[in-house]
């Protein structure tokens, strides 16, 4: 299965290792992965700010970049939810809407793809990690992503997933909301941190980097330098490596920002 990997802006810029982890997992699940070089953004930041053209114009770029693949995978529920909305933006151009519909129906969020659409299941992983999972809104409510991360994490031996209270309540990211109404966003992030930390996790996990940055940003501001905030893909990929004996020794890697102050 030939996959076009849509890395998403935030992963591309801020945390590339989520992209590498995703590709490692996709390959382990039997896919051939390509990364179209001219990809940019799904258009959501502009679209949700009231700029409809951000959606329509970038939908066409997406179509050009990805139409030739068997499937498209992105490590973000929010970007995939935006992409799933593309056909509806072209009610006046049925032919284009139809082409987009065919493409978006084979465009999947990473964890959903690995659970339901990949050629083969992931091999079991192993990683000692006490974690709690935040259900990101778009993935949960627009794409039905709920059991997928939990099922995948359950295949990783040693991952101890403790559910937090109000896991399904928004963390306050909301794209431009997090800047325009930062005071509310901060309060919502605070609530999320409180509920997450109550499970005493090593790591707070999620499937959308926007939420993860929001949660991590609040945690660090509160002075928590210990709790990691990771994408589920990072954990699964690390688990795969560890299971195959390739886990490097602790301390060998400099540059884990969250632990440099230990």
């Amino acid at each position: 299965m030939r996959i076009g990997f849509f890395v998403t802006c935030l992963v591309d810029a801020v945390r590339p290792r989520i992209g590498f982890a995703s590709i490692q997992l996709l390959e382990a699940a039997g896919c051939t992965v390509e990364v179209p070089a001219a990809q940019t953004c799904c258009g959501q930041p502009g679209f949700n700010s009231g700029d409809r053209a951000s959606g329509t114009r970038l939908a066409q770029v997406f179509l050009e970049q990805f139409e030739s693949f068997d499937a498209v995978v992105a490590p973000s529920g929010s970007c995939v939810a935006m992409i799933r909305d593309y056909p509806g933006l072209f009610a006046d151009q049925p032919a284009l809407a139809e082409r987009l519909q065919r493409l978006v129906s084979r465009t999947h969020e990473l964890l959903d793809f690995l659970t339901h659409h990949a050629p083969q299941p992931l091999p079991a992983g192993a990683l000692p990690l006490r974690a709690t999972y935040h259900d990101s809104c778009s993935g949960l409510r627009n794409l039905g992503i709920k059991h997928q991360p939990r099922q995948l994490l359950a295949t990783c031996d040693g991952v101890d997933l403790c559910e937090m209270r109000d896991a399904e309540i928004c963390c306050g990211f909301g794209g431009s909301f997090s800047v325009k109404l930062g005071e509310i966003a901060t309060r919502m992030a605070d609530n999320k941190c409180n509920h997450a930390l109550a499970t005493q996790p090593d790591a707070i996990l999620g499937g959308d980097l926007g939420c993860l940055l929001n949660i991590e940003g609040r945690l660090r501001r509160r002075g928590d330098q210990r709790t990691q905030v990771l994408h589920v893909a990072e954990v699964l990929a690390a688990g795969q490596l560890a299971a195959s004996g390739e886990l490097p020794a602790p301390g060998q890697f400099v540059g884990m920002p969250v632990t440099t102050k230990d």
């Binding site: 810029a13 700010s49 109404l181 501001r221 920002p257």
Partner: protein, 495 residues
């Protein structure tokens, strides 16, 4: 009602800093969502009930003129006087006219959000007519001289101690922390008012076209008192509240209380038609309905049309994480929460409530519970589009979105811009890998750090690795960056 929706951010700042309010929101906020979940859990197929309710409401709106006239004809035939008001102010004048003609001195009211829109109480008060709110929450707020902060639990922002202090001040009774005792005090205090009133003013949850009836839904029984005891009853309600038939009412009532309070059925549903029955010894001698437009008709057929399906259950605010943190008053007008973020700009004008459509993460928690399937996030996004199109957003915001879109349509430039962005962020970041202050994005960095990028972009790194893979013919080059996560995780386990 005077709106403060234009100063939303200031309102929010004040509410987030109000410790007493925050404590109340935390303590009482979540109950509705839990009770709704339990009520839905007792139903075989709640989605089918939502489907039916949504169909009915959507269908009525497509021929609202017909159903309003059908209602008017039948209500008139049954002896109800039907009045039409274009604005809230007009509705107030109509009601005042009815009161004066009937020599009314004392009015008792059950809950009516439309009368909050129109500021009815102040107008009656100025005309020398005594008005008493009888819904317990509304009564508390009348004593406190505050507007409701929730459409079905108007005083949810008040604690028992605040209520007790108000009662002590107005009734001259000792303070108590006993909630049943406070309710009893209100009962004793309000009972004589019910008996002495000349006019009852109620809202109207629904108007039934088939029978010319007004349907009123309450738990306390005050709605029944208001519509049974005084010699004049006036229902004041929005033009969108009409339902074609009693069967439609039955279907809607399967979702309304479950969505609102998590009850299978509200205590009292009263379907009221015309005046006192011949030979009966209770019921009003005069019955009036005031149909209020106040901005509603403008929405029909337009982008916000679906918002008029609303049956005022409050589920959207009960499930809204923004509402749950700031409370209803911050929204600055009658309707708070997601539906308020749509209705306030729609009724008052977008320029009077610019921040309201932005006051949502579009998390869709409201949409998945709305009993009539109003696409609330979509409507908020539509209003954001209108703000953009009408030039109502700040120039720098419009410019930066255009610039961003232009870049995103030019992949090579977007890549360059991303590289530069990364450099700036890494340069700004402290030794801990966090940006503590980001000029231009203070909204973020006032309360949160911004985790700095890890290095070069994924696509730049990928290009390098792809070359390496091709050189080595080996597919494991991606291992290193991923392993960092594992290493970090392993380290954090160490004592």
């Amino acid at each position: 009602m005077d709106a403060t929706s234009h100063s939303f951010k200031r309102n929010v700042h004040a509410r987030l800093g109000d410790e007493a309010l925050q404590a109340n929101l935390r303590r009482f906020g979540g109950g509705f969502a839990d009770r709704r979940r339990d009520a839905v859990g007792r139903v075989d197929d709640f989605e089918a009930l939502r489907d039916r309710a949504s169909e009915i409401r959507a269908e009525v709106l497509t021929h609202l003129d017909h159903w309003l006239l059908a209602f008017e004809a039948e209500a008139t035939r049954r002896g109800t006087a039907v009045h039409w008001a274009e604005t809230g102010a007009e509705a107030n004048q109509i009601l005042l006219g009815i009161a004066r003609a009937a020599g009314v001195q004392r009015v008792i009211k059950s809950k009516s959000m439309v009368s909050e829109e129109s500021g009815l109480n102040a107008v009656l008060g100025a005309a020398g007519i005594e008005v008493t709110e009888t819904d317990l929450g509304e009564y508390i707020l009348q004593l406190a001289d505050e507007p409701p902060s929730h459409i079905i639990a108007p005083a949810i922002h008040k604690s028992r101690d605040e209520v007790s202090a108000l009662f002590a001040e107005h009734h001259g009774t000792p303070l108590t922390r006993d909630i049943p005792a406070l309710c009893e005090e209100a009962r004793q205090h309000l009972r004589p008012r019910f008996l002495q009133a000349d006019m009852g003013v109620s809202g109207g949850n629904f108007l039934i076209a088939e029978t010319g009836s007004v349907a009123i839904v309450t738990n306390e029984g005050n709605g029944r008192m208001v519509t049974t005891l005084p010699r004049v009853h006036v229902a004041i309600t929005g033009i969108e509240k009409v339902l074609p038939t009693l069967d439609d009412l039955s279907a809607i009532l399967r979702v309304l209380p479950r969505s609102a309070t998590g009850q299978d059925i509200t205590n009292y549903v009263s379907v009221l038609t015309g005046t006192r029955d011949a030979g009966a010894d209770d019921g009003p001698e005069q019955n009036h309905v005031i149909l209020v437009d106040n901005g509603r008709s403008r929405l029909l057929g337009g982008a916000l049309h679906d918002a008029l399906r609303c049956i005022r259950c409050g589920a959207c605010m009960n499930h809204c994480p923004v509402y749950q943190n700031i409370g209803g008053h911050a929204y600055g007008w009658v309707y708070p929460g997601p539906i308020g973020a749509i209705l306030t700009p729609a009724f008052l004008g977008l320029e009077k409530a610019l921040d309201l459509p932005q006051a949502s993460t579009l998390c869709a928690a409201c949409e998945v519970v709305c009993p009539v399937r109003i696409p609330l996030p979509e409507l908020m996004r539509t209003l954001r589009e209108q703000e953009m199109e009408q030039g109502l957003r700040p120039w720098h915001e419009r410019l930066s979105i255009r610039l961003w879109r232009w870049l995103a349509l030019h992949p090579a430039l977007y890549a360059v811009a991303t590289r530069w962005g990364i450099r700036v962020l890494r340069w700004l970041a402290g030794k801990d890998g966090q940006v503590h202050r980001l000029p231009g994005l203070d909204g973020w960095t006032e309360g949160r750090d911004m985790p700095a990028p890890q290095g070069s972009t994924f696509r730049d790194q990928w290009r390098t690795q792809l070359a390496a893979r091709e050189a080595q013919g080996k597919a494991r080059a991606a291992a290193t960056p991923v392993a960092m996560a594992a290493a970090g995780a392993a380290r954090s386990k160490a004592p």
